[in-house]
């Protein structure tokens, strides 16, 4: 399901299946994109932040057009305990690889992989520096 922002329109509530993973896409070329994601985060239930939320930063290939500091995004990821992925949609190889990563994450979040749950992402996020 693709949405431009949260909250989702209520008229489609009855048509929506269970949500297993929320990917927030941030276009590194647009400050508006980051702002939009920050406002939308407020509408996500706290239980999602146990591994079912991920940030996807796009447009990183165009180094000259970056409007957002990667620092700011990493801080966001830390604050919400969610992984941050970087990709460049204009390159087919990276696009396909990113899609495969997201699909793998989704399988885990939906419970399709025995022995691994979404909570694993949270523990994998911890840096050795943090301790």
């Amino acid at each position: 399901h693709l949405a431009a922002s949260l909250p989702l329109p209520s008229e489609r509530d009855h048509l929506r299946p269970r949500i297993d993973l929320v990917v927030f896409m941030i276009d590194i070329k647009s400050k508006y994109s980051l702002k939009n994601v920050e406002t939308s985060l407020a509408h996500v239930d706290a239980s999602f932040f146990l591994g079912k939320v991920c940030f996807l930063v796009t447009g990183v290939g165009r180094v000259n057009a970056c409007s957002i500091e990667t620092n700011a995004i990493c801080k966001l990821g830390k604050a919400y305990c969610s992984p941050v992925l970087f990709c460049e949609l204009e390159l087919e190889g990276i696009r396909v690889a990113t899609a495969q990563r997201l699909l793998r994450m989704l399988q885990i979040c939906a419970g399709h992989i025995p022995g691994v749950s979404a909570l694993s992402f949270v523990s994998l996020m911890r840096n050795s520096d943090d301790d």
Binding site: H1, L2, A3, A4, S5, L8, P9, E11, R12, S30, Y32
Partner: protein
């Protein structure tokens, strides 16, 4: 043949891209077909231009013919220049029959009565456009052929398109000559400038597709707004909002291609509105500021802002009024009175 004319022809030919030279010389018609056959268009341009000058010498070309070649080049490469639009006003409602010979005679006479050293050349095109090229001199100096002014006039309309040379001091004389020759009594410069002459014509002649207000309260149940959404596994959550944006955008911009403008400029003479506690220029004097939007195709990019999610729909009327008001230079001043909002000066 005058060596200045020879040099001018040589430089004009050098401007033309190599594979277009033959076509332009044929359009010019000054050299015979037999002479054109003797030219080798596969050598370097330097040599081609030398050969062309040589042939022109055989035919004793003068500045008049050279000027025609220049008009032909500028007619094909009209988008290299910046064009301004001028509007003429008639005193009465009389419909006078337009006589091209009379127009040319009056125009030349008016200019020559003030300035002897000028080169004036006319060329008529099929779409009723009269192209006028004027090279200006001074009482002491011969006309500068390298900085001419070009004027495009459609005789059935009150509009004149001028691409001025840097010698702006000749503009009043040019304007006078135009109104005298075309039997109007006044001329004023519109706040409309662009590289694309055709787009300027589209705007003032109202040839672009205009929106018509539709008063349906319910959005029309049309077909799929985004034809590329072929994969049924992708669900668009904000479909109704996307459709609203698309519909509003279509209403404002129309569904056809937009005229091509490269910039819009807004000169603000409004008061700086800040928190009164901050005491920053608060309502003491106008905050002068210039806002300029530039783009290879400004109106198309404005049209795509809302669908791309970069702006809210509908866009500010200051941006969307550009084709209707036929202007892309605005002065915005404070509106004094009931509503403390800024308004656009006429």
């Amino acid at each position: 043949m005058d060596e200045n004319v020879a040099e001018y022809i040589r430089r004009t030919v050098l401007k033309i891209p190599r594979d277009e030279i033959k076509m332009m010389l044929q359009k010019w018609g000054f050299l015979s077909e037999a002479q054109l056959q003797t030219l080798n268009f596969y050598q370097i341009k330097d040599n081609i231009s030398q050969e062309v000058v040589h042939l022109c010498e055989e035919n004793s070309a003068d500045i008049k013919q050279a000027a025609v070649l220049d008009i032909i080049y500028n007619h094909i490469y009209q988008d290299k220049r910046i064009w301004s639009v001028y509007q003429m006003k008639k005193s009465g409602e009389e419909l006078e029959y337009f006589d091209i010979t009379d127009f040319k005679k009056k125009f030349k006479r008016r200019i020559r009565s003030a300035l002897k050293n000028v080169t004036i050349t006319f060329k008529e095109y099929k779409d009723n456009a009269i192209w006028i090229r004027v090279a200006w001199g001074t009482p002491q100096k011969k006309p500068n052929q390298y900085k001419p002014t070009y004027v495009v006039y459609h005789s059935q309309t009150p509009y004149v398109f001028i691409s001025a040379s840097v010698l702006k001091s000749n503009m009043p004389l040019l304007c006078q000559a135009l109104i005298v020759a075309s039997n109007y009594h006044d001329i004023r410069e519109m706040e409309l400038r662009s590289h694309s002459l055709n787009s300027l014509k589209d705007i003032v002649f109202k040839r672009y597709s205009q929106n018509f207000q539709t008063y349906t309260t319910k959005p029309l149940q049309g077909g799929n707004v985004e034809p590329e959404n072929a994969d049924i596994r992708i669900v668009q959550e904000n479909r109704s909002e996307k459709e609203r944006i698309y519909r509003v955008n279509q209403e404002v911009f129309g569904s056809g291609p937009q005229p091509k403008l490269e910039f819009a400029q807004y000169r603000l003479e409004t008061m700086f509105k800040s928190d009164p506690k901050m005491d920053v220029l608060d309502k003491k004097e106008p905050f002068r500021c210039l806002v300029k939007f530039s783009s290879p195709h400004l109106l198309e990019s404005l049209k795509s802002l809302a669908p791309a999610g970069m702006a809210d729909a509908p866009l500010s009327p200051l941006l969307t009024c550009i084709p209707h008001k036929a202007r892309n230079y605005f002065k915005i001043r404070e509106k004094k009175g009931l509503f403390p909002e800024s308004f656009v000066s006429p």
